[in-house]
């Protein structure tokens, strides 16, 4: 059997630790571990790399500690617009969704787009509608919102009003 390998990231910047309270970092660390466990379980069972990366990303999308899915950042209108992509190195098949608002796990929608083979990328309401038609979990946009992201947007608005947006911390920008 060939070697297997798995790696994940949960975002970069100062927020990767310094802006987190100790209990938040412990919780984020635990979720990173759960993400690795999910992906590794697929690989050690002889599953595909595609299934492994999807499983790993779903865990982080469901965690409030990362900027994806539940816990995603808010745009200038105070709304969520979610992007995701997945790619299979075996045949260069790929799928992505962008500006999605109601798909609980956008990475699952990207996978569905890839497998449908009619498009590589679907955007906005079409992406949401496609995901619903594919039987994926659809949620209210408020599902994605956390207090941390609301506070971050408020802080950014204050920085904008004061003309100090460039001084906003990574946590305020990315959470």
């Amino acid at each position: 059997m060939n070697p297997t390998a798995l790696a994940i990231h949960g975002g970069c910047g100062v927020m990767a630790r310094l802006d987190l309270a100790e209990d938040e970092w412990i919780a984020a660390r635990a979720d990173l571990g759960r993400s690795l466990e999910a992906g590794w379980a697929v690989l050690t069972a002889g599953g595909s790399a595609l299934d492994a990366v999807e499983a790993a990303v779903v865990v982080m999308e469901d965690s409030p500690h990362f900027n994806a899915g539940h816990g995603a950042a808010l745009n200038t209108d105070g709304e969520h617009e979610l992007d995701a992509a997945i790619m299979n190195g075996a045949d260069l098949a790929a799928g992505s969704v962008t500006l999605a608002r109601r798909i609980r796990n956008p990475i699952r929608a990207a996978r569905a787009v890839m497998e449908a083979q009619e498009a590589v990328m679907l955007g906005g309401p079409a992406a949401d509608a496609f995901a619903a038609g594919a039987g994926l979990d659809i949620v209210e946009p408020s599902y994605f919102t956390t207090e941390r992201r609301v506070a971050a947007l408020s802080a950014m608005k204050r920085h904008q009003a004061a003309g100090t947006a460039a001084k906003a911390s990574e946590a305020e920008k990315h959470g």
Binding site: G10, C12, V53, M87, G89
Partner: protein, 143 residues
Amino acid sequence: TVGAVALDSAGTLAAATSTGGYTNKPAGRIGDSPIIGAGTYARNGVCAVSGTGKGEYFIRHAVAHEIASRMAYLGESLEDAASKVIHQDLKPHDIGAGLVAVGADGAITAPYNTDGMFRGWVLPGGRMFVASHAEVFDLATLP
């Protein structure tokens, strides 16, 4: 932004990325994550890449595909190709950037140019590590 890259026992590589963009981003703005070749890319025999950072520059530099191209056409190692893109190509832009990548041989790299990056990996044999800055936590050995 979150992402994952993997190599399976059949030798297939895959990459996945998901994001909410950034706080106060313009409505309708699309970053690099859903752009194949920018924030996400995989090609068997070469590498799989998932990125995080200022997406506009990942798109302009076609970062994930650039790493694969350096490896395929110049023969660079995974670590060298990824490091050059993060620490040299993107350096003049003074933007935060990072990525995880896995090669066809199972090599893993995770360069970043910010103060830290949430990341994790599993070594052959199942030892699992997570990290944010230089501090690395050996969590467990997975079955």
